[in-house]
């Protein structure tokens, strides 16, 4: 495998370090560096997506030490899909930020690149402990990004977010320690083999470690009842940061797919069936809680934050079903909900900017240029609720169809469909109140094209995902098959020879 695989880490790292070192660089220069690095990451992600779509699993041995002794980067279809989604979302968020919100605090562009470094690393790494390290990188960048702009509301939500995630990190380490003490390895491919053939005495220890990881990933993904930090954090962050954070909950879902689909999914005995009932219960609770929160919100940004929780519930339902079809629908819905969720945060900010009441859902002034904003809000709402003809419908239908064989089918159908109905009511009410009632304040200027374009481009991904739906679902089906099978991943990682023949391949 060529050195392409390490570029999604090197580009944001180099750009972030450069921006920090040149701390006094004028903002225009910082914007150029950030934009070029993000565009380069997007190009690399497209290239890697093309490589992964051929069905090959790329393995990059860092320091040329063979797995499981050295650290590996692994590019399978899932990692490539997540990299591309992140790069698209980051491009949209950065394009919005350079129109002014990056002026609100220092070092925005450096932190943005470090956030991308953490995200890309978490998707590429083939090692459980490195997953922890990259989680910490993306978390510490997100702590600072959340505080971007300052103010007591942001400080309060950041304090809660930081403390919760620090406790989560401790639980992650304990889980990793338990799994290591049961299996003696931390390489994900090696763990998949070790856990499948684990002797029954060590299984409860590995199961306890796995359950701790469920809690940690659930905290990252804002699964009920670990979701309390999310609405405050996301609704108090500046719009481009909130948009980028739309991928953060998905990192938790991604880690669950990786760890439970690949690592724990292949054994016999108690480990294989350990997580599904917990995940299903949590999924239905999350759907219900997120829906109630969205309908009850009195602030559009908070409502969009609850939409993120609802999408996590939907994803978790698909994940818990565990079949290849369900996983395929989950991945499709993951891409959709990330891009649309990010776009909705931008739209909510655009609406809030033009009103004296801000994004509060009360009858007041209409924002100037409400006609165009209404179209954007309608597209985002239709996509988020899952109505035809946009991509939310496709994703939800894929998950609903996959649920048919399960004994939980009634619960899943009821939860997803009733939640969609309530979201439809809530979003319609918000849209009517914000965009149809009241008069435009004569002094307000409509939002500039530079602000509207990023939101519109992210929203345009939704119809594109329908137009190229056949091609994309073929990709997600192949991805799901690759994860469920798992043998290709294990063989590719453990079979990758070092580039230099001098490296030892066994412990003396």
């Amino acid at each position: 495998m060529s050195h392409w695989l390490v570029l999604p880490l090197l580009i944001p790292f180099a750009a972030g370090v450069g921006l920090l070192l040149a701390g006094r660089m004028p903002l225009a220069g910082q914007r150029w560096v950030g934009t070029i690095a993000t565009a380069a990451s997007l190009l690399v992600a497209i290239r890697l997506f093309g490589l992964a779509a051929e069905g090959q699993i790329g393995v990059y041995l860092i320091g040329d030490w063979p797995a499981p002794f050295g650290i590996v980067l692994v590019l399978d279809r899932l990692a490539a899909l997540m990299l591309l989604t992140t790069a698209l979302l980051a491009a949209g968020a950065l394009a919005y930020a350079v129109s002014g919100t990056d002026r609100a605090g220092r070092a925005f562009h450096a932190l943005f690149q470090f956030q991308l470094l953490g995200l890309n690393g978490a998707f590429l790494t083939g090692d459980l402990f490195n997953l922890f390290v990259f989680f910490e990188i993306l978390l510490i960048a997100s702590y600072s990004l959340l505080l971007h702009g300052g103010g007591p509301a942001r400080t309060r939500s950041a304090l809660h977010y930081v403390v919760l995630n620090l406790v989560g990190s401790s639980l992650f380490l304990i889980g990793v320690g338990l799994i290591y003490s049961a299996t003696g390895t931390l390489n994900i491919a090696d763990l998949a083999q070790a856990l499948a053939g684990l002797d029954p005495e060590a299984q409860p220890i590995a199961a306890a470690g796995g359950m701790l990881l469920v809690v940690v990933f659930g905290l990252k993904a804002a699964v009920l009842p670990l979701h309390f930090w999310l609405p405050h954090a996301y609704s108090s962050a500046t719009a481009p940061v909130a948009a980028l954070f739309a991928i953060m909950t998905k990192v938790g879902i991604y880690a669950m797919v990786r760890v439970f689909g690949l690592m724990f999914g292949h054994g016999e005995g108690m480990l294989a069936e350990l997580f599904a009932p917990w995940l299903l219960g949590a999924a239905i609770l999350t759907l219900a809680g997120g829906t109630f929160g969205a309908v009850a919100s009195s602030d559009l940004r908070e409502m969009v934050a609850y939409l993120v929780i609802v999408s996590v519930g939907t994803l978790l339902a698909g994940l818990a079903l565990g079949t290849t079809e369900a996983l395929s629908g989950t991945l499709y819905y993951l891409v959709h909900s990330t891009l649309v969720g990010g776009a909705m945060f931008l739209v909510a900010d655009l609406i809030g900017r033009g009103r004296s009441q801000g994004p509060a859902i009360v009858v007041g002034g209409r924002p100037p240029g409400a006609g165009l904003l209404a179209v954007l809000f309608l597209i985002g709402g239709v996509a988020a609720v899952g109505m035809p003809p946009l991509s939310g419908l496709v994703g939800k239908v894929m998950i609903l169809l996959a649920a048919q064989g399960s004994e939980w089918v009634a619960w899943i159908w009821a939860a997803i469909l009733i939640s969609s109905l309530f979201l439809l009511i809530g979003l319609s009410r918000a849209g009517v109140t914000l965009l149809w009632c009241g008069d435009v304040n004569p002094g307000d200027a409509p939002a500039t094209a530079a602000l509207i374009a990023p939101a519109a481009l992210l929203l345009a991904m939704s119809p594109l995902m329908v137009a190229f739906g056949g091609w994309l679902t073929a990709y997600t089906e192949a991805t799901a098959a690759q994860i469920t099978d798992g043998r290709g991943y294990v063989e590719a990682v453990l079979g990758q020879p070092p580039a230099s023949p001098l490296r030892p391949t066994s412990v003396p």
Partner: protein, 111 residues
């Protein structure tokens, strides 16, 4: 030795959770520090406890597992950075809220 270590880890976690639930920023930071100490000890014990064994591969079969030691070092570094960050954040919160309560509300009782 294993029982003693388990007791110490349990005690640290217990104190940490108690302090964390006090919901005052200073206690919360101390609680997080205690929990991260306990985590590091736990991670160290994941490689099995051993005495009088070579720390490195290559000096014969009975050697201590080197991997958890490397993991603990990484975890200590990360935990240190995070503690520094949360301490600065707590100071800023103290300045902005005028109280040390984590929910940002003023204290009803006296100092």
């Amino acid at each position: 030795m294993a029982a003693l270590l388990a007791l110490v880890i349990g005690l640290l976690v217990g104190c940490g959770v108690y302090l964390l639930l006090r919901a005052r920023t200073f206690s919360v930071i101390l609680g997080i520090v205690l929990i991260s100490y306990a985590t590091n000890l736990f991670l160290f014990a994941a490689g099995r406890l051993a005495t009088n064994q070579a720390p490195l591969v290559g000096e014969g079969p009975p050697y201590a597992d080197p991997l958890p030691q490397a993991l603990v070092l990484t975890a200590i570094v990360i935990g240190f950075a995070m503690t520094a960050f949360v301490a600065v954040l707590a100071l800023r919160a103290r300045g902005e809220f005028g109280s040390d309560r984590v929910d940002g509300k003023p204290r009803e009782d006296g100092p």
